[in-house]
Structures are given as C-alpha cells and as structure tokens.
Amino acid sequence: MNRFRSFIVITIILTSALSASSPAASQTASPVTLTDKQQKVLDYMLDDWNKQMRITGVDLAMQNVGGQYSPDDRYAIGVFLRNNPRLHRTLRTYGWETAALTPTEKLMARIVSRAEREHQSSPTREDFARNLDVSPVAVTDALKMLERFGIMRPDPAVKGLGYRMVQDRYEDWEGAMRITFMNHRVQVEGEKPFEVF
C-alpha cells in the first residue's frame, strides 16, 4: 500500500514539474496566430509605423486595408500586439493599448481613469453616449471590448457605469511618452487617414 502511495505521489510531482516547465504554463495568455487577412492588417500597421510620427491603430488599419473585418479580428490583432512587443519600436515605446483600442474606447478609458484618480463618479452610459455622440450600443460594445482586453472590469459598486479600470497603471497612465488612451487622427486630402502620436 505504501509503495502504491509513493507511486501516486511521485506521479503527481512529475506531472506538476512537467506542466510548470511547459511553454503554455509560463505564458499568461494563450498563444495567438493571425489569419492571412489579419496578418495583412498587421503588415499595414508595421509599414505605417515606419513613417514619421505614425501610430495608426488596428481599427483604422482595417478600414484602410479594406474588406470585411470584425471586432473579433481587432481583438485577435490586439492580443497579438500585446504578446509580441518585439514587433516594432513604436509598440515598445507607446504600448499595445494605444494601437488596439478605437478612439471611442480610448476616450471612455481616459474619462473613467481620470474620474477614479480624482475620486469623482464616472459618467453613466447615457452620459457617454450623449457626450461622445455615439449610440448607447456603441458605449456597451466599447465597455465589452475594454473588458475583453483586460483594461476595465465590471464592478457593481461603481454607480451608473458599473465599470472600473483593472490596474493602477491604467488609472495613472498619463505622462511623458505615455499616450495609452490618446488619439490623433489625420487626413491629408486625397490620401488614406492615419493616426499620429
């Protein structure tokens, strides 16, 4: 019986050791590979970021590349950027968030983070829809995507909006070279729009 028990214990230890040393266990997010059409968007962005002051994000890059793209495509590319900071210096300098989020999501994150920093109450969803001139559905979709990216999370204790920032770094994001939730979109006549830092 003792030999059997020892065998069980050794088996558990070996299994734990093997799973701890596997690549999957050492990563916080599951590995993501891009489809061909998602890769096309990524290639467009990397080329764009080689131009002066450019940081065109996924949403605008999908529009510029053309074709059918969904929020799931944007999420997949955003997670790929998050998991691969060595792709481009721009990504390492400014962070994946500013490339992954839409202007509306950035504005909402900016306003909620400031409210938390200054111990003010966050605007309600209706306030956001009115002030940002978007539909209530767009506000809900933006909150869902911010949650999916791990930037905001539902919290019933937050009256009205029901969401808060996930980490301190998303509350205190402003500062030199930090443009996490900023967006500047430029359109030159006759050319495709782009975004700058």
Binding site: L107, I111, N131, L132, D133, H184, V186, V188, E189, V196
Partner: protein, 50 residues
Amino acid sequence: MLLVGSELKDKAVTVDDASQYSGAHIHLVFENSRVKELDPSATKVFLGGG
C-alpha cells in the same frame, strides 16, 4: 501639429482629436498650414507643438 507645420505644410489636412479634459470632439481643417475650420470655434491651435 508638428506635421501640419512641416511635412504637410503644403497640403489640405484634417485633424480629428479630443479635449484632454472633457473628451469633447475637436475637428480642425488646415490648408497650407493655415487654419480653415475650427470646431469648437474656441479651440486654441499652436502650430509646431507636439
């Protein structure tokens, strides 16, 4: 604005931005580095800045 005053100084350029504080939309149109449209009209523009 740096680009509008340098690399894009001879172009017609539209910039869409948002207020740092309120999040209100800011829409600017430039032609040859000169402001053609401002919305809201009280927007202050500093060409050559970041």
